[in-house]
């Protein structure tokens, strides 16, 4: 134990000290050159900048495109919502087996509102969308005019019309369903943008 205490321990401590001295002497293993070139600094900053900003810009572009698509889809949805109100109103009128002047005026009002929504949707798609969507838009316009002719024509607005006849109602519902189908196609095409 005395050998361990008075010989081996100091020896180990000595060897450990020498090794530590060598390590510290060679540390750091690389050297720094404090004479930097301006171009190198700019190059480093530029690399960091590109690394940070390009993903941010790409993300913003993707978000903008998504937000634009969502706006268009909302416009289409808003138009269908008003058209649905017309369809619900006409169903109520048909089921009540009577139509009043107030009902006729309300239908006119609903068409005025829906027209404005159609115009807004139309101008958006005309400006920003491709030919396929524009073709569907032309179909939608033609179908919307058909719907307008059915529900604001003499079969409904004539003073002697006191109830909505079945043929007119069925024609209106059929046209409304076709309208919804066209809007669905437009929404699908907008999603593919």
């Amino acid at each position: 134990m005395k050998i361990l205490k008075f010989f081996l321990l100091p020896l180990v401590t000595l060897v450990g000290g020498i090794i530590l001295g060598i390590v510290i002497r060679d540390f750091p293993l690389f050297t720094l050159n404090y004479n930097l070139k301006v171009t190198e600094v700019l190059s480093v900053l530029l690399t960091f900048g590109i690394g940070i900003f390009i993903p941010l810009i790409v993300k913003k572009l993707i978000d903008d495109k998504r937000s634009f698509k969502n706006t268009l889809i909302e416009e289409a949805g808003s138009f269908v919502k008003t058209a649905s109100r017309i369809n619900e109103r006409i169903t109520t009128i048909y089921e009540s087996t009577k139509i009043t002047q107030r009902d006729k005026d309300d239908l006119n009002l609903l068409f005025e509102i829906a027209d404005e929504e159609f115009n807004s949707l139309f101008s958006f798609i005309e400006t920003y969308c491709q030919d396929g969507t524009k073709k569907e838009l032309a179909n939608l316009k033609a179908k919307w005019i058909d719907y307008w002719k059915i529900l604001t024509g003499t079969e409904v607005t004539k003073s002697e019309v006191k109830r909505l006849d079945e043929t007119t109602y069925k024609k209106a519902v059929k046209t409304f369903n076709e309208l919804k189908g066209i809007v669905r196609n437009i929404k699908t095409q907008l999603n593919e943008l």
């Binding site: 006119n108 003499t154 079969e155 004539k158």
Partner: protein, 125 residues
């Protein structure tokens, strides 16, 4: 003959100018009625008899364009449009009507499309 092609439209515009404007909301009334007199006030037929036909005939005689200003006119039921512009088209032919009529509707351009559709496809009802 394709009346609405850009070439033809340009030709017409070059040949004729707008010399008369019929502002419906100011001269006739601010709200559209239905088709015939017995449907109530401001019917399409009333508009046709008292305003549209005579102004249109003058435009044809003077070889100019009549501008129909729809802005400010509330409602545009197909019965009204059919009782006025549709009737004009049935009486005088869609080609002549489209040659001498122009529409203005800044607030709701779809009303113009509806009127042109009715002029091109007039019905008795």
């Amino acid at each position: 003959m394709e009346l609405c092609s850009i070439g033809n439209l340009n030709k017409i515009m070059m040949e004729m100018e707008i010399k008369d404007t019929l502002i419906i909301a100011k001269e006739f009334g601010d709200t559209a009625g239905a088709r015939d007199y017995d449907d109530g006030d401001f019917s399409g037929k009333e508009f046709y008899d008292n305003f549209l036909l005579q102004r249109f005939n003058k435009a044809v005689e003077g070889n100019y364009l009549l501008l129909i200003d729809i802005d400010g006119f509330w409602g545009w039921p197909s019965s009204f449009v059919s009782g006025s512009f549709g009737l004009l088209s049935m009486e005088l032919g869609s080609e002549l009507v489209l040659k001498h009529l122009r529409f203005k509707s800044d607030k709701n351009p779809l009303k113009i499309d509806k009127a042109i559709h009715v002029i091109k496809n007039p019905t008795k009802k």
